[in-house]
C-alpha cells in the first residue's frame, strides 16, 4: 500500500488537469475518491485488540486487496458503480458532473498507485480476480505487526521514494497550494461546496481545509521515517531495492508479468480519462473542437 502518496496525488491531479477539464473537476471529489478505497478496507486490515483478543482480518492482504474480501474497494469497478449511481441520482444538479469526474480521477489514481506493492490491486475486477502488481516494495500489513510494522517497512523501502516523488511533483507545481490557485481554480470549479463551507468558516480556515491533506502527507513522511530509522533504526534496516525491505516476508496474491501489469494500468487509466472527458463534456464538442470543425 502507499502512504503519503495518496495525499499528494490529489494535488498533482489538480495541478495537471488538462485545459479543457479546468474549472470542471471538483477538488473535494478528487480527495473523496482517493481516500475512499482505504476508508472502506483499511480499518479491518489492521484490526484492533480488546482484552488481548484481536479483531480484524485473518489474512490482511487477502481481505484488503483480494477476492473473496474487500479487494473490490481497490478496483475501478466500484468507482464506476458509485459514479453511475451518483450521476443517475444527481444528473439534474449543476455540480453533478464536477463531482463525478473528480471522484473517478481520485479513485483511479488510488487503485493504480497501489499496484506498486507486492500484492497489487484487482484492476480488472469483476472480469478477473487477478491482482496486478509490479512489486516495487513489500506489502507489510500483518496480523502481528499491524500498522507499525507496515509503516516501518514502507518507509524503509521504495515506498519512501514513491512518497518523495509525489511530494516533488506537488512542490514542482507549488502554485497549486497558493491562495490564488485555490480561489481561481479550486473554488471556481466547485463553488457550491466551498460556499457551504464558507458559511461556517473564515477564508484562512477554508484554505487550511484545502491544504490539510498536503500537511498530513508531509507530517506522516517525516514522523514515520524518523520513528523507523532514528528511534528504532536497528530493528528496521533500509531495504532500498525492488521488493524491499528484507525484514518482512514478501507476499503476493498473483504474479503477473510486469509488462502486462503496466500495459493494463495504462489501458485502465486511458479508459478513465476517456470516461472523465465524456462526463465533463457530456459528449458535446467543446469550444476548441468547434473551432477545429468550423475551420
Amino acid at each position: 500500500m502507499s502512504w503519503a502518496a495518496h495525499q499528494f496525488e490529489t494535488y498533482a491531479i489538480q495541478a495537471h488537469l488538462p485545459k479543457r477539464w479546468q474549472l470542471k473537476v471538483s477538488y473535494l471529489a478528487i480527495v473523496l475518491g482517493d481516500q475512499l478505497p482505504d476508508f472502506i478496507a483499511k480499518f479491518w486490515v489492521y484490526g484492533f485488540s480488546v482484552n488481548g483478543h484481536h479483531y480484524g482480518a485473518k489474512v490482511p492482504q487477502q481481505f484488503h486487496r483480494g477476492w473473496p474480501g474487500a479487494g473490490f474497494s481497490h478496483s475501478l469497478f466500484l468507482g464506476f458503480i458509485l459514479v453511475g449511481i451518483w450521476l443517475w441520482r444527481t444528473h439534474d444538479r449543476p455540480w453533478s458532473r464536477q463531482w463525478a469526474a473528480g471522484f473517478l480521477l481520485g479513485f483511479a489514481a488510488h487503485c493504480v498507485t497501489d499496484i506498486n506493492d507486492s500484492v497489487g490491486t484487482m484492476l480488472l475486477f469483476p472480469f478477473s480476480t487477478a491482482n496486478f502488481s509490479i512489486g516495487t516494495w513489500a506489502y507489510a500489513a500483518t496480523v502481528k505487526g499491524g500498522k507499525y510494522l507496515d509503516a516501518a517497512a514502507y518507509y524503509s523501502s521504495f515506498g519512501l521514494v514513491m512518497d518523495l516523488f509525489w511530494l516533488g511533483v506537488v512542490l514542482c507545481s507549488w502554485r497549486v497550494l497558493t491562495r490564488h490557485h485555490w480561489r481561481t481554480q479550486v473554488v471556481a470549479s466547485d463553488p457550491r461546496a466551498w460556499a457551504w463551507l464558507g458559511r461556517r468558516m473564515s477564508e484562512p480556515m477554508l484554505l487550511a481545509v484545502y491544504r490539510v491533506t498536503f500537511f498530513y502527507g508531509v507530517c506522516r513522511i517525516v514522523a514515520w521515517t524518523f520513528w523507523a530509522h532514528v528511534l528504532t533504526g536497528k530493528e528496521h534496516p533500509w531495504g532500498l531495492h525492488w521488493g524491499g525491505p528484507d525484514f518482512v516476508t514478501l507476499v503476493h496474491l498473483s504474479q503477473l508479468p510486469v509488462w502486462l501489469v503496466l500495459l493494463t494500468a495504462a489501458a485502465v487509466l486511458s479508459g478513465v480519462c476517456y470516461l472523465v472527458d465524456r462526463i465533463i463534456t457530456g459528449g458535446q464538442p467543446q469550444p476548441a473542437d468547434r473551432e477545429l470543425v468550423s475551420t
Binding site: H180, L207, A208, Y216, V218, R220, W224
Partner: protein
C-alpha cells in the same frame, strides 16, 4: 474572480502551518497512535482555529489600545478651559 496574485497571504498564517506541522510531528513521534487520518487533519484545523482566534483577540486588543491612546492624546491636546473664565470662553467683546 478577483486576482489575488498581488494580495499575498499574511505571513503569520503561513507560520501557523509550520507550528502545526512541527508540533504534530513531535507529538506523533512521542505517541504514534495520533499519526492517523483523523488526528492529522484535525490537528491542523484546531491549531489554525486557535491561532486565528488569538490573532483576532490580539488585533482587537491592540485596536482598542490604539483607540484609547488616540482619545487620550486628543484629550491632552484640547485646551483646558479654567472654570473661572466663562466670559472669555463665550467670546464676549471686551
Amino acid at each position: 474572480m478577483a486576482n489575488t496574485r498581488g494580495d499575498p497571504e499574511p505571513r503569520r498564517h503561513l507560520l501557523v502551518y509550520a507550528v502545526a506541522g512541527v508540533t504534530y510531528i513531535g507529538a506523533g513521534i512521542a505517541e504514534k497512535a495520533i499519526l492517523n487520518w483523523v488526528m492529522g487533519p484535525l490537528w491542523l484545523l484546531l491549531v489554525m482555529a486557535a491561532a486565528l482566534r488569538l490573532m483576532r483577540r490580539r488585533d482587537t486588543g491592540s485596536a482598542e489600545k490604539a483607540e484609547k491612546a488616540e482619545k487620550a492624546e486628543k484629550a491632552d491636546s484640547e485646551p483646558i478651559v479654567p472654570p473661572d473664565a466663562p466670559a472669555e470662553k463665550a467670546g464676549r467683546a471686551p
